[in-house]
Symmetry: C2
Subunit: 325 residues, 2 copies
C-alpha cells in the first residue's frame, strides 16, 4: 500500500517512522498546502514525493492511500474528497466529530470499493491481545479504570491567551477526542457499547482540557480520564472478582502488563516495536488481502466509539462540527 | 484517656495494637454481648477488664471513653447511650448512616461536655500533611483520582448466598461506607465540599459492592472508586497544571508519596508507624488538652463527609438507616 501523508505534525512523523518498519506499506509522499513545507518535510523524513495540490495528488496513480492527520474537524471533508477521487483513506483518530458524517464516508467507501481505516494504536497491539486472551481469568468484571493524563506543551500557550489547534473547538480539539479516545477504544473493544455514559469535563474557553467519562455496563462500571492540562501516572486496569490486569503507562502505548489472580501472576510487555507499528501492519495486511469486509467491520466499530464521544460532548454542549468546505 | 472497646473485629484488634504505642491513651477493657467472648478477646489483646453489660460499663468511673466498632447501623444508638451516660465516644468510620442523627449526637456531646471523634486514619497521617504542604506546588488543580479496591474475603460468602455484615444493607455495609469513605475524606479535607456529586454503584442484593463517586468542584473534577468485590492497585493522586502528587497503595494508609513538578521531584513515606497510630495520637492529645472546640470542629467535618456519603447512597435508593433500638 503506497501512502501519502496529509499533515506535518508530530503524529505524522511517528506514523512515517513506524511505517518504515512495515513491509506491506510504503510512504511515497507528503502533502502540505505549502509546497516548500511539503518538500522540507519529505526531505526530513526521507520521502520522495511532495504535493501542494490535492488534484495532483488524487491524479497520481502511484498513490493508493492517503493518511489524514490534519486537525480533527477537517478529516471529514478531506476524506470525502479522497474517497470521491478513488483513494483509500487512513484517518488519524478521532475519525471525525459526528457519527452521521462518518456513516456518509463509510457508504461512500463501500460504493467506490475503497478502504477506510481509523489510525488507532493501542487496540492493535500485542499487549491488548494479552488482555483479551486473559480477561476470562478475572471472573466477573466489576470495575474498569483508565487514565491518560499527559500535559500538553500547547496548554502553556492556551493559558497565555492563544488558541492552539489542539485546544480549538473549531478544530474539534480537546482531551476527550485527543487522549481519552484511547481509553474509550480499549473499553469498547473489550466490552462493546455501554448501557449509558456520562461525561464530566473541565471546560476552559469552550474546550474540554480534561474530563472523566463514566460508562455504565450494568453489571459493572468503567471510567476513562483524559487530561491535556495536567499530568499523572497513566494506567488501564480491568478488575474482576477473581483478579485484575493492569497496564502502567500511557494508554495509547498500553505498556507494562501485570496480571494477578488467585492462581497466577505475571508481568509482560510485548509492545516492543514502535507504538504505531501494529496498526499500520494491520492496515497493510487488510489491504494486501483486499479484506473489505474486515475493514468495514472495523470502521463500524470506529463509528460506535465515535457515538460514545459524540454523546459525551453533546451532553456538555461542546458543539463540535465537521467542516464541509 | 482510658478507653473500652466495643466490637471484637479485626479493626478493633488493630486499634488496640496502635493504641499501645500512644502514650496518652490506654485500652483498659473490652465489651461484648457475651462475657466469654469479651474475656477471650481481652486476654488475647492483653487487656485487663471485660464487660457484657452496658450499664456496668457506663457506671465504671475508670472508663473515660468508648471506642465503637460495631456494625455501622448500630453506631448511632450505641454512641447516644454512651453520651447520655457521660462517656466520651470514638466512632469507627463511618460515624453513622445519616447526617440528621450525627447532628443529634454532636448536640448531645456539646450539652454533656463530652468528646465525640470519628476514627479515620489517613487524614491524620504525616503523609497527608506532606500532601497538604505541597499541594500549592501543583498549580491549578485539574483532576483528583482515588481508588481503594480491596477484595473482601466475605465476598466469597456473599456470592455463596450468605449476607455478612459488611455486605448487609441493614448494617449500612457496602463499599462506599467501608472503603470509598477513605478516598472521600482525603478529597474533602483538601478541597472541602464539592458543588455536586454523582455516585455510580455496582449493586448486588441491595448493597453497593463497588462504585465510582464523581465530585464536581467547578474548576476541577475528582473521582473516588471503592471496591470490595475486586482488587486492583490503589492510589490517591492530585494533579494540577504544574505537577502531580500521588500515593501508591491502600488509601486508608496513604503510603509511598511521589511528587513531580517542573522544578522538583521527590519520593517519601513518613507513615512509618501503625496506620491507626496517628488518629489515636490526635484524639489523646485533644483529650489531654480538653480542646472541645477542635473536637467539635473535626466532628462537624465528619458530618460534612457523611453528607456526601448520604447523598450518594440516597441517589441510588440504598436506604441505609441508623437503628434506634
Amino acid at each position: 500500500m503506497k501512502i501519502v501523508t496529509v499533515g506535518t505534525g508530530m503524529i505524522v512523523e511517528e506514523f512515517i517512522k513506524a511505517a518504515k518498519q512495515v513491509n506491506t506499506v510504503e510512504i511515497i509522499g507528503s502533502y502540505s498546502r505549502s509546497l516548500d513545507r511539503a518538500k522540507e518535510f519529505s526531505a526530513k523524513m526521507g520521502i520522495v514525493k511532495s504535493y501542494d495540490s490535492l488534484s495532483t495528488l488524487v491524479d497520481d496513480e502511484d498513490v493508493d492511500a492517503i493518511y489524514i492527520a490534519s486537525p480533527n474537524s477537517l478529516h471529514f471533508m478531506q476524506a470525502k474528497y479522497f474517497l470521491e477521487n478513488h483513494k483509500h483513506v487512513i484517518l488519524e483518530k478521532p475519525i471525525m466529530s459526528k457519527v452521521e458524517n462518518a456513516k456518509v464516508l463509510l457508504d461512500l467507501a463501500k460504493k467506490n470499493n475503497l478502504f477506510i481505516f481509523e489510525a488507532i494504536s493501542n487496540i492493535h497491539t500485542p499487549n491488548f491481545e494479552v488482555i483479551k486472551e486473559n480477561i476470562s481469568k478475572l471472573g466477573n468484571i466489576k470495575m474498569v479504570q483508565a487514565n491518560y493524563s499527559q500535559y500538553s506543551s500547547r496548554f502553556d500557550l492556551f493559558k497565555a491567551g492563544e488558541v492552539p489547534n489542539v485546544f480549538n473547538p473549531a478544530f474539534s480539539g480537546g482531551s476527550l477526542l485527543d487522549l481519552n479516545i484511547y481509553n474509550i477504544q480499549l473499553i469498547y473493544h473489550l466490552f462493546g457499547l455501554p448501557k449509558d455514559s456520562t461525561y464530566f469535563p473541565n471546560i476552559m474557553k469552550g474546550i474540554d482540557t480534561s474530563g472523566i467519562l463514566v460508562m455504565d455496563y450494568g453489571e459493572f462500571k468503567a471510567f476513562a480520564v483524559g487530561a491535556k492540562d495536567s499530568a499523572s501516572p497513566s494506567y488501564f486496569t480491568v478488575q474482576g472478582d477473581e483478579g485484575f490486569i493492569t497496564a502502567t503507562g500511557p494508554t495509547n502505548e498500553l505498556p507494562n502488563l501485570h496480571l494477578k489472580t488467585k492462581d497466577e501472576e505475571f508481568k509482560v510487555d510485548h509492545n516492543t516495536k514502535h507504538r504505531l507499528y501494529w496498526e499500520i501492519e494491520v492496515f497493510g495486511d487488510i489491504f494486501a488481502r483486499k479484506d473489505y469486509d474486515l475493514a468495514y467491520k472495523k470502521f463500524e466499530e470506529s463509528i460506535e466509539v465515535l457515538g460514545i464521544l459524540e454523546k459525551s460532548w453533546k451532553q456538555n454542549n461542546l458543539g463540535f462540527e465537521d467542516r464541509t468546505e
